[in-house]
């Protein structure tokens, strides 16, 4: 790319000629405020917060979309600029529900930060307010238009990154509202509850449906045996809520905090991930050897499963019948664990801490229950766990590292990497390859399925058989891959799909990261590193080597895909109508 030179606030800077003024300012170390801007997702120059003076231009220009040019002179901190930015944000605030003290995004709100940074001390524009809607009907996502600032970030992430388009601008002018079609509830739209709209939202117009109080009540209830489990991706992001840099792994502190919160047992969903690999790996072997429906497609991501049910019902027979790991864990806790420890399963309350908002809806699926008992009783997001830790006034950073409870707390490196795109595939390969080869394999790092490329393909030859693989993340990429399979252009044996781009580490329930930070940090990569690091440090890195897994098959389940395993660990899917 050609380079050009421009001057920003008297600083000369050389940048590629396709840069915007905003990117050039960043290069020059000049901080320009933004609000609607979200790198590669929402670059529309709508909010006018990032305006700057460009010499020779009569009007202020939105730097996030204004291209640089040779010799351009830009000023970002003049009276005109400061006043324009301030007036813009004051106007936004004039129609915004300013209940910051009691807002779900208090202290993680980009509008709040911006107001502080722009030194806004009053809102001079008083007048009519737009009529607002609060939609709390879905099990996962709350939409509150009284907070919405019409930036369009959710609209574009849903339409372009996920390829779904549940939300859009409706009506016009003062009555404009970001909403599903016909003002429907998210519950009545083909929403997959991935929560990418929530992590894109700069304010609290979209947020998860909180389950915190229900969990506190369960902990308080002396009759209940409250078990908590944490998904792999939680440990890779929870630290951010307590000031740690993105990508810091806080496994030990997280476990210690959960014990302090008063849970009776702290288990790791990774154990169930290992169990998933045993079931799914053998399902794959079975389908390959017996001529079953191929490709086998993973079913751990409830967002993806819902997407498939709404949009590609013809692929439902391809989905693995395995429940997702936390559901397996719930089922195992209320059967095997309850039996072994002589606890009445009706008195067990299972809480899942997940990086995901779709897991909330998943746990409410009627078929995910055994003998009338739900596998999982409550799902908290990583953000909700952080809120509970803060509410309990636990000094997170001073906690001594603690270990998961041994009953269902041992896991392998294969289980840990489930949280990143390509991780389920790699974990499955580690087991399937050994079964096919009939011997232990040393080289178990499958680098070709790692990384954040939208669709990854690989072939591995094991036991004289070539297995064709593909990995997709983000449902728009999933659609692209499925279309290629449908047309016959591509053929695979095994496909991993995760609903969110980057996989669970960047799920809809993970801590908020301001768009500003995401501008030069790919959080998908940083958080995944934490998981791959934990993988290398584990004593066992293959699911079938987990001693607890061997134990449950020897003592309880028999063998993978046995009748009992099917009863507890497998499920089915339903084609769903859109709207």
């Amino acid at each position: 790319m050609d380079k050009i030179t421009l001057t920003i606030d008297n600083i000369k800077v050389e940048v590629p000629s396709n840069y915007t003024v905003l990117e050039a300012a960043k290069t020059a170390g000049v901080d320009v405020p933004t609000l609607c801007y979200m790198k590669k997702v929402n670059e529309i120059g709508a909010c006018r917060v990032c305006v700057v003076e460009v010499e020779g231009n009569r009007n202020l220009q939105a730097s996030c979309v204004f291209p640089v040019a040779e010799g351009m002179v830009v000023k970002t901190n003049t009276k005109k600029v400061r006043e324009a930015r301030k007036a813009t944000v004051e106007l936004i605030l004039s129609n915004h529900n300013r209940e910051c003290l009691t807002c779900a995004r208090n202290k993680s709100c980009e509008l709040q930060s911006l107001s502080e940074e722009l030194n806004i001390s009053s809102v001079p524009f008083v007048g009519e307010r737009t009529e607002t809607t609060i939609d709390q009907e879905s099990p996962s996502i709350v939409r509150d238009s009284s907070k919405c600032i019409l930036c369009g970030r959710c609209v574009n992430v849903c339409k372009n990154v996920q390829g779904i388009g549940i939300l859009d601008f409706t009506n016009r002018g003062f009555e404009t509202e970001v909403s599903p079609a016909f003002g429907k509830s998210m519950k009545d739209a083909p929403c997959i509850y991935c929560g990418q709209c929530i992590v894109a939202c700069p304010v609290a117009a979209l947020r998860e449906k909180e389950d915190i109080e229900r969990v506190w009540d369960a902990i308080e209830d002396k009759d209940l045996h409250v078990v908590v489990q944490t998904a792999p991706a939680v440990r890779a992001a929870l630290g951010e809520e307590f000031g740690h840099p993105i990508g810091t792994r806080v496994t030990g502190k997280m476990v210690a905090a959960l014990k302090r919160l008063g849970f009776d047992k702290v288990f790791d969903t990774n154990y169930a991930a290992d169990l998933t690999i045993m079931e799914e790996g053998h399902e794959l072997l079975h389908r390959i050897q017996e001529g079953g429906v191929l490709p086998l497609i993973t079913s751990c991501s409830p967002g993806w499963v819902r997407y498939c049910e709404f949009n590609y019902p013809e692929f439902l027979p391809n989905l693995s019948s395995c429940k997702s790991p936390h559901q397996m864990m719930g089922a195992v806790v209320k059967s095997y664990y309850a039996e072994k420890h002589n606890i009445d399963p009706k008195k067990i309350f299972v809480v899942s801490v997940m990086p995901c908002t779709s897991k909330k809806s998943e746990s409410a699926r009627p078929e995910l229950a055994v003998k009338g008992m739900k596998d999982v009783d409550a799902v908290l997001t990583t953000r909700e766990l952080a809120k509970m830790i803060k509410q309990a006034r636990i000094d997170f950073n001073r906690l001594e590292d603690a270990e998961f409870d041994p009953a269902l707390g041992h896991y392998t490196g294969a289980g840990v990497i489930f949280g990143a795109t390509g991780g389920v595939m790699e974990a499955a390969l580690r087991t399937v390859a050994e079964v096919l080869e009939g011997k232990s394999i040393e080289a178990i790092d499958y680098h070709m399925v790692r990384g954040v490329e939208g669709i990854k393909e690989a072939e591995v030859t094991v036991g004289g058989k070539t297995i064709k693989l593909a990995v997709a993340h983000g449902t728009a990429m999933a659609a692209k891959l499925l279309d290629m399979i449908k047309s016959g252009e591509k053929q695979y044996h095994f496909v991993e799909i995760m609903g969110c781009s980057g996989g669970c580490v960047t799920g809809g329930g993970q801590p908020h990261v301001p768009a500003k930070v995401k501008m030069d940090c790919d959080i998908r990569i940083e958080r995944a590193k934490a998981l791959y690091e934990e993988d290398t440090q584990m004593q066992y890195r293959k699911s079938h080597e987990n001693p607890l897994i061997k134990e449950i098959y020897d003592n309880f389940l028999g063998k993978p895909n046995s009748h009992k395993a099917h009863e507890l660990l497998h499920t089915h899917y339903t084609a769903r109508d859109k709207y």
Binding site: K159, I164, G165, I166, L167, D168, F169, T170, N171, R172, S179, P180, A181, F182, A189, K578, Y579
Partner: protein, 157 residues
């Protein structure tokens, strides 16, 4: 009696319009114009069909339909009464006129009467300020009105 607009014949016409525009860039607008003409409105069932055929999310279509005033979600009456609420008409007393029509036809502004006969709309300036206050019934124009003129006009239809 409102006739069933969502009949097979209309959907066939819609399909033809979709097929004609399918491969064009920005196919949505011309298809919506046709749909409005065919059905007299663009309700959920019609938007769903367009969404599936053009692979455009329903929310986007709904957004466009509610943005432009020439598209409507509900069917319009046999006679569309447009009362100009532009500045000139308004100061010359358009509001009591619209209230009177509403009373006589039993139709709220922006709505259609139960018998499907009248739709009452408040329009922006229609460029006939010299005739203020002014109203239109389909293609007919009535100007320099007073409230007392209204019953007779409504009776004509």
């Amino acid at each position: 009696m409102v006739k069933n607009i969502l009949n097979e014949e209309n959907f066939e016409k819609l399909q033809a319009a979709i097929n004609e525009n399918r491969n064009k860039k920005g196919a949505l607008m011309p298809v919506l114009h046709e749909a409005q003409k065919i059905f007299g409105c663009i309700p959920l069932e019609v938007q769903k069909r367009i969404s599936e055929e053009l692979s455009v999310p329903l929310s986007e279509i709904y957004g466009v339909v509610t943005f432009y005033s020439q598209f409507t979600l509900e069917s319009r009456g046999e006679f569309v009464i447009g009362v100009c609420l532009g500045t000139a008409c308004y100061v010359k007393g358009a509001q009591p006129i619209i209230d009177k029509i509403s009373e006589l036809t039993g139709t709220k502004v922006g709505k259609t009467s139960a018998d499907g006969k009248f739709t009452l709309e408040a329009t922006r300036c229609i460029g006939a300020c010299g005739l203020a206050p002014v109203l239109t019934v389909n293609e007919d124009v009535y100007g320099r009105l007073v409230v007392a003129d209204i019953p007779e006009i409504v009776k004509k239809y």
